[in-house]
Structures are given as C-alpha cells and as structure tokens.
C-alpha cells in the first residue's frame, strides 16, 4: 500500500533525472562531433589522418545505396551466429555436467587451463591449414574464441545453486532428475544467459579478426580492404557499423533475456 502511494513521486523524480542524463548524453556526443567537424574543416588535422564527418557520411551513403554494407553486416552476423550457436550447443551441456559431476570437471580442467590463455587469433594459422579460408574457417575461429567462456560461465552458474533450494526441493519429494530440471537448470539460467551476452561481444571481435586476416567479405574485410585502398572514410564507416551491429545484437540479447527470465524483471527494476 505504502509503496503504491510513494511510487508516483519517486517515478517523477527518476524521470526528471533520466531526462537530464539523456540531455547530457546528447550534449557530449554533439560536442565531440562539433570538435571533429571543426578540426577537420579548419584543417587542424589533415584528411589523410582523419576524414571529415561529411566525407564519412558520403562514404556511408554510397555503401548503403549499392547494398554492399548490408551484405557485409549480414555475412559477418551469419558467421558469428553459427560459431556462437555451435559453441553454446557444446559448452552449455558440458558446463552443466562439469558443475554436477566432478570427474567431468577433472577431465576438462587441464584443457580449459591450456586453451583459455590463447586468443582466438592464434588459431588462425592452424584453422587455415585445416579448413582453408572459407566460411567454415571463420565459424571455427568464432567457436574457438567463444566456447571456453560459455563453458566457464555455465559451470560457475551451475555450482552457485543455493543449497537451501536443493534441500527444499528434495524435502518436497524431488528426485535426482527433478532436482536437475526443476532447480539446478532454472537457477543457473540467469548466469548462463549473462555469460552468453558477454561471450557474444567476444564472438564479434573473433569474426572481425578472422575477416581482417583472410576474407573476401564481411565487416572486418571491409575495413581492411578500405585501408589498403587508402579510403579512410570507409574505414570509419566500417568501424561505426561494427559498433552499431554489436549494439543491436546486445539489445536483441537483452530482449531475449527478459523474455526467458520473467522472474528476474523485478530485480532489475
């Protein structure tokens, strides 16, 4: 009752605060853009080091008009999605098993310890040797860069299940199977999903690296080729596009998370 009465006042306060913060966001961006425009327009910085905002906009317009930009985004996104989905398919079940069955953890531990310090870029020579420079190799690089993180997040989330809930479930008559499906998995799910979100950003950086080294298309190839042609505005377009695409992917992941975890909504306010 009290909460219901107090809520509107607090809500208004929070809204004014949010409006303010949003205004500051915009002002900061506008200031940096203005500085950029001024610095390039007045010739303080030579165009071969930093093109003007207008040039970047023109480059983007051409790329969007002929459809190449969208193709590159889709090509990269497809590689990320395949590698990421493959990594999740392997690592989530494996992580859960490691969490509930110690021998599995003992088997995996040495490999995880050895492989974890390797950035995915170090797999590029071997992956090209084994798989060539086609789609499969890009997907493999994404997979190699992602699976260990998903595995570790899943393992940790599975281990962190509240023992009191396990007791309560057994006290209510749950057997081993029910404890797994009704308690361990739902309890680990928020942790697994936040692990997936973190890993998704890592997967994107993997695909870009792979594309910069050996690819005909994709966002990584776009900026690398643009560099070779000395087309700096296009490099910036590529970078901006990568940012926006990863942001969009994050936003989609957040939507999906809220859909899958209705009980967590209250916690985030």
């Amino acid at each position: 009752m009290t909460a219901a009465v107090a809520a509107p006042a607090r809500l208004t306060l929070r809204m004014t605060m949010n409006t303010w913060l949003l205004a500051i966001n915009f002002a900061a961006v506008a200031m940096v853009l203005g500085l950029w425009w001024l610095a390039t327009g007045r010739g303080w910085i030579a165009p071969i080091f930093l093109p003007s905002p207008g040039d970047v906009l023109d480059a983007a317009r051409i790329k969007i008009a002929n459809g190449n930009l969208l193709t590159d985004v889709l090509v990269s996104a497809r590689r990320v999605f395949l590698g990421f989905a493959l990594a999740a398919t392997v690592s989530i079940p494996l992580g859960v098993v490691m969490g509930v069955w110690r021998p599995a953890k003992a088997i995996m531990d040495p490999f995880v310890s050895l492989l974890r310090p390797l950035p995915s870029i170090t797999w590029i020579p071997l992956s090209i040797l084994w798989l060539g420079i086609g789609e499969l190799q890009k997907v493999a690089i994404v997979f190699m860069g992602s699976w260990i993180y998903i595995l570790l997040y899943t393992y940790e989330s599975t281990r962190r299940v509240d023992p009191l809930l396990l007791r309560a479930a057994r006290n209510l008559g749950a057997g081993d199977g029910a404890v797994m499906w009704e308690v361990i998995l739902p309890s680990a799910l928020p942790g697994i999903i936040s692990g997936l979100k973190v890993t998704l950003a890592i997967s994107w950086s993997c695909v870009l690296t792979a594309e910069m080294i050996a690819a005909q298309n994709g966002l990584g190839a776009l900026i690398w080729q643009a560099k070779d042609w000395g087309n700096l505005p296009l490099v910036l377009v590529g970078m901006l596009c990568i940012s926006l695409t990863v942001l969009l992917a994050d936003w989609l992941a957040l939507r999906l998370e809220r859909l899958l975890l209705p009980w967590e909504r209250g916690r985030r306010g």
């Binding site: 007791r167 057994r170 209510l172 009980w263």
Partner: protein, 269 residues
Amino acid sequence: MAAILTARHVTKSYDTGRAGRVVAVQDLSLDIEEGEFVCLFGASGCGKSTMLGLFAGFIQPTSGEVALRNVPITGIEPRCGVVFQSYALFPWRTVRGNVEFGLKMQGVGRAARRVRAQEFIDLVKLTGFEDRYPIELSGGMQQRVTLARILAASPEVLLMDEPFAALDAMTRQVMQEELLRIHAGNHKTTVFITHSLDEALILSDRIVVMSARPGRIKAVVTNPLSRPRHVAMQITPDYLALKASLWQLVEAELAHQDETSQFVPSPAD
C-alpha cells in the same frame, strides 16, 4: 495417542577442524504425539535447529535414532515437510508454481494440481497473487507461500524452523494467528522452533526447553493455555503470570546448567 515422531538417545556432533568436535545435541530423547504442536524453545546454539535437521533427514545422528512412525529416518524425508526461516521459495516459479511443486513431484496431474494448489493459496489468504513471483512479495507473504507450498504437499509432520523470526513484530503476530487458525483446522503434527517465549506459549501444546553446549532438554512444559487462542490474550493477567512462572523455570534451568558447566559467579553475585 501414539508417538508419530521420536528421538531416541540422539547425539549429533560435528568435526569443526581446528576447534575440535562440537556436540550440538547430546543424548536427547523426545516423543511427539500425533496432532501435537510442540515448540522447541532455547537460545541460539542450543541445537534446536540441529534437531529439526535430524527430523527432516537433512543430517544423520552421530548416535541414537530418529524415527517417523517407528521407521528410522535415514535420508531426506518428504513426509516431514520443512518451513524454512528464509522461505527457500523457487524464485523462477510463481506463487502458484511454488505451491504446485510438491504435488508435481508426487505425480499429480496438471488440472488436479491447480485445483489443490488454489485451495491452499486461498487458505493462506493469497488469493489474487497466484501469478506473482516471490521477489514481488513482502516477507510475510513469502512465508505464506512457503506454508501453502508445504501444506499442499500434505506431509505427515510440519517442521518449522523459526519461520517468523525474520518478520517484523506485527506481521509475526498476524502469521501466528494464521498458524493457529490453520492448525485448528487440520491438527497437523507440528514441531516449531523458536527463541521467543511468547511465540512458544501462544502456539504450542508442549514446550521443550533446551539448553546450549551441548544441546539437551532441560524441561518439558505442558502448555495450560486453553484453545482457541488469540494473540490478544498475551496481555491478560493469567497469561502474564504463566509467562513469569515459565520464565523463572527457564532461568533456573539455565542457571543450573551454568553451574554444571563450571560457571564461576562474580563476587557481586
């Protein structure tokens, strides 16, 4: 009347590493009759929670035996339903989902489950909150869900581990009234742990006074207060006289225990 729950010369000690062995409960024997409401009363560390854990089968006695209907309890015993102080609700299940859990474990079909769960949701006066998640409820309401969840699973004995200790004083009184009402309706055998003499007096048929280190029964007091009871009777002169005499007994027993554990009184005494 026959004893439904028994403890025979139960000792439980823990190996605490450097501190050596701690005896939580020593040579404790107790018979709990069918339909009886027994309060285990004592300060923290007196082993009352250990007793509850033994009755629930969460832990096993070091020596001696606990039994339900003369059958030793050797594992987690769903016929002894536990109400935890910290609720232990499944955060990913709604109120209805939590209350249905025990029934689902018993293999009750979806439709029958829903009907039965509704009965107990109504009983604890949570009608209208069926689709809320635990996080959206106050502490008192969460404890109502726990109570409904365990009652719906229809255990033979209710084990309540200081269930209202985390609630504010007013909510606690309301919950005590609710419990009196529910117990008057179903006469479920209940073992209720508390460190509040008022709570023990208002709820119990018998009060088992325990002393600490090692946990032992110091006195068993039959509660002379007639039923039906209400929290309001806690201000009647009869009640206060009873409480005073019981408090004297408890004090005397605890003082006696201090002597036996080589308590050295200061010269001022």
